[in-house]
């Protein structure tokens, strides 16, 4: 639940211990996997209740989750998050078990050109995050792109926007951006409010999610699970992009909706997608030996030291590892939901803490979280600067989600575009050659025009 203290550290620290103890490899993988997806849920608690996303993937959950918490519906949001995570996490295990080798091929065939088009598709999601002015959303996204450009450019080795500061050579960690722009700016806004102000937290009204709310959001969870899984399979895309795309898609196809103002499906979509993506990321790890995320990279190191070779034959050579993993994921998900649902009320009580304590607590979480990423005081300074910028942006009604999207996509779209151009010798035809590219273009076009189409169809039906 602590932002910054993620699964990577936990796994890296545990590794020498289990190695010394000669625990069987299958058990170790199961333990690591448990930490990996267990932490996913912990992070959504702080996203929903405190507007502090612990990981980049949980950033989208803050939009509707925190809006719900403000309306006194924090308990419902937490419960929805647990249920959607369960659905996303469980169904994706079946995808993993049955389609792993086939999907590994997708990961291989997904080259720089395909990534570039996927990012274009994701950028179209931008319009879903503009609350009102599209221009403001675009400005916000550009600010995010500028932040993404900071650091050494890997294609040429040139440093950009670093102002000679060594701390900036590696770029800015995503969590620093998120803590600064979301959490610190939130504290500043809370400081500016009078006690008893209408716009602040409403007392908890309903704690329990109703059966109807679950069934209403079931379709959302299922769709997000599928798209999240497919994106998770691609090394390099991951849970953050999965949650953004799932949220944007649902916002476009669900009519009517309250996305942005505390729609429970706005919590279900990113949570399901994000958990499903983390299961999907095991496919490149296990079948191709290519880690899709930092955490799976640590796990890969672990597997190899145990003499287990990831590869297309893993299912035959080490079935105990593969099936043990799949079974443990299922049990893990089951435990998470059994443990978490009764505790929702307890978590939600955090919000009844007096404001002066709560605000100090959030500030502490932010500072500790920013510091632990790299053990750097500089990052703490950065969250304060970003917090201030974020405060003024929010006061001027700039949406912050496009900024986050810009930071996430900026580096990916740029490096992949340049890689593709180097391959093709500068010919843009490379972006239209493969079937995957064409499919993505069609999806992009559909997502761009679908809302208008749905609107006009609805009008015709009504008239």
């Amino acid at each position: 639940m602590l932002p910054g203290i993620g699964p990577v550290n936990a796994i890296a620290v545990l590794f020498p211990i289990v190695y010394t103890l000669e625990v069987p490899a299958a058990t170790v993988m199961i333990l690591f996997a448990g930490i990996y997806y267990g932490s996913q849920y912990g992070n959504s608690i702080s996203s929903i209740l405190l507007n502090v996303p612990g990981t980049s993937a949980a950033a989208v959950t803050t939009i509707d989750g925190y809006a719900m918490a403000k309306q006194g519906l924090g308990g419902k949001a937490l419960a929805m998050s647990a249920i959607a995570s369960f659905i996303g996490g469980t169904i994706s295990i079946f995808f993993l078990a049955f389609f792993a080798p086939k999907l590994a091929e997708l990961a291989i065939n997904f080259g720089p050109a395909e990534y570039t088009v996927l990012m274009v598709f994701a950028f179209i999601a931008l319009s879903s995050f503009s609350q009102g002015s599209l221009l403001k959303a675009i400005i916000s996204a550009f600010l995010g792109l500028a932040i993404a450009a900071i650091g050494i450019d890997s294609t040429t080795g040139v440093s950009r926007l670093t102002f000679g500061m060594m701390e900036l050579y590696d770029g800015i960690d995503f969590i620093v951006v998120v803590i600064g722009f979301f959490a610190v700016s939130e504290i500043l806004i809370m400081l500016g409010q009078k006690e008893g102000d209408q716009s602040q937290m409403q007392p908890l009204t309903s704690l329990w999610i109703t059966f109807k709310e679950i069934t209403n959001s079931l379709a959302t969870s299922l769709r997000s699970c599928v798209s999240g899984f497919l994106i998770g399979v691609l090394p390099g895309a991951g849970g953050t992009i999965a949650s953004f795309i799932a949220y944007a898609t649902e916002k476009k196809i669900l009519r009517p909706n309250q996305f942005g103002n505390g729609d429970i499906r706005g919590v279900a979509a990113p949570e399901s997608a994000n958990n499903s993506a983390s299961v999907g990321s095991f496919i490149p790890l296990l079948i191709l030996g290519v880690p899709g995320s930092e955490t799976t990279a640590v796990m890969l190191g672990g597997l190899i030291s145990f003499g287990i070779k990831p590869g297309p034959l893993l299912l035959e050579t080490s079935p105990d590892v593969f099936w043990g993993l799949a079974a443990s994921m299922f049990i893990g998900n089951l435990f998470l939901i059994i443990l978490n649902l009764p505790l929702v009320g307890l978590f939600a009580k955090i919000l009844q803490t007096p404001r002066w304590i709560l605000m100090s607590l959030i500030t502490m979480l932010c500072v500790v979280g920013a510091y632990t990423i790299n053990g750097s005081e500089f990052d703490v300074l950065l969250i304060l600067i970003f917090g201030l910028i974020g405060y003024f942006l929010r006061r001027a009604d700039f949406p912050l989600a496009p900024l986050i999207l810009g930071v996430v996509l900026g580096d990916l779209i740029e490096t992949n575009f340049r890689r593709a151009m180097i391959y093709s010798g500068g010919d843009v035809i490379i972006f239209f050659e493969s079937n995957i590219c064409l499919t993505l273009w069609i999806l992009a076009a559909v997502s761009l025009f679908a809302p208008t189409l749905i609107n006009s169809i609805q009008k015709k039906v009504h008239s």
Partner: protein
């Protein structure tokens, strides 16, 4: 369920062991030690701190108590380097993980002006040798085939690797090209990927023509028969891939060793420096380490004390020269 119980027991016992070792009695060995890994968890530097340092030194009783591991990522190791030079210059109980990448960056002078002589080099205890590979169906059968293509048609010969431009994977292929007498090194078409794994996907999908990386990244793909290793940049053939020829056998005298080792702060006592050299030598020669390093795809590579200092100096000079030729460095 039984398996998860095992896991829980594992954690509990682990904690108990950790707690017991912390109660160790003080002796005249380095105590209260710390190893800085200049990168996040999971990479090569992190491994160097956690396994040969914290684990093996602890198990062999070469240090007093347990060694703390600190991850200090930033500026490709530059942040840790600056930290050690400016703030920990006389810390007798500190060692820092280093590798060929450290030397490469010092050679390119990107550690904000700090030099190799600002620290003391203790030793190296293993290395991952460089390798160049292609898809199994590739038209390139030998290293010479690839070198000819790089010479005649550099723009159409896409070479991928896991380091950024100017990084170690890129430099290795340039050193080979340089040996082969290619004068226009800038024309060589290197495409950088996030890590060796994602670069390898470019080979498996046949999008790229050749891969430059380390042997440990290739062993599995070679065993599965998906790729062909054109050359390994090692002095001799490696048991893990016995059929792969060295570059030297094919007439290109290039050795590219991504060694793993340590440096310590400059102003510690000579006695303590000698102790660290002694400790690292003992680890390097231990059976526990040879077992662990082999499992992690490292080949034996030993160099200690004064020899190691000279070796690092030589590598830095070489990288500086190539990088200047290429314009990565002014």
């Amino acid at each position: 369920m039984r398996k998860s119980m095992q896991s829980i027991l594992g954690i509990l016992t682990g904690t108990a062991i950790a707690a017991t070792t912390m109660l160790g009695v003080a002796m005249a060995k380095p105590g209260n030690t710390e190893c800085i890994a200049p990168a996040g968890a999971g990479g090569g530097w992190d491994f160097t701190c956690r396994v040969p340092a914290a684990q093996v030194m602890g198990d062999m009783g070469l240090i007093d108590g347990t060694m703390a591991v600190t991850n200090m990522s930033g500026a490709g190791g530059g942040k840790a380097y600056a930290h050690v030079v400016t703030k920990r210059g006389d810390d007798e109980n500190l060692i820092v993980a280093a590798s060929m990448a450290t030397a490469a960056r010092l050679g390119q002078n990107v550690y904000s002006g700090f030099k190799a002589s600002d620290v003391r080099w203790v030793g190296a205890l293993g290395a991952d040798y460089g390798a160049i590979a292609v898809h199994k169906d590739s038209q390139f059968k030998t290293l010479s085939d690839l070198v000819t293509a790089m010479k005649d048609n550099p723009r159409r010969t896409a070479i991928v690797g896991g380091s950024s431009a100017g990084g170690w994977d890129h430099l290795k292929v340039l050193i080979v090209a340089d040996k082969a007498g290619i004068s226009d090194l800038k024309a060589i078409n290197y495409i950088s990927f996030d890590n060796g794994g994602t670069a390898m996907l470019e080979i498996l999908s046949k999008r790229a023509d050749a891969f430059t990386g380390d042997i440990s990244e290739l062993v599995e793909y070679e065993k599965q028969g998906n790729i062909r290793i054109l050359a390994i940049l090692a002095p001799d053939r490696i048991p893990a891939v016995p059929s792969a020829k060295t570059a030297k056998e094919q007439g290109y005298d290039v050795i590219g060793a991504n060694w793993r080792g340590f440096y310590v702060p400059k102003n510690i006592s000579n006695a303590r420096y000698k102790e660290w050299v002694d400790i690292v030598t003992k680890v390097a020669n231990s059976s526990q380490w040879s077992d662990l390093s082999a499992k992690n795809g490292l080949a034996p590579f030993k160099s200690f004390g004064k020899d190691f200092e000279n070796f690092v100096g030589g590598q830095i000079g070489k990288v500086a020269q190539i990088s200047t030729d290429l314009g990565f460095m002014k």
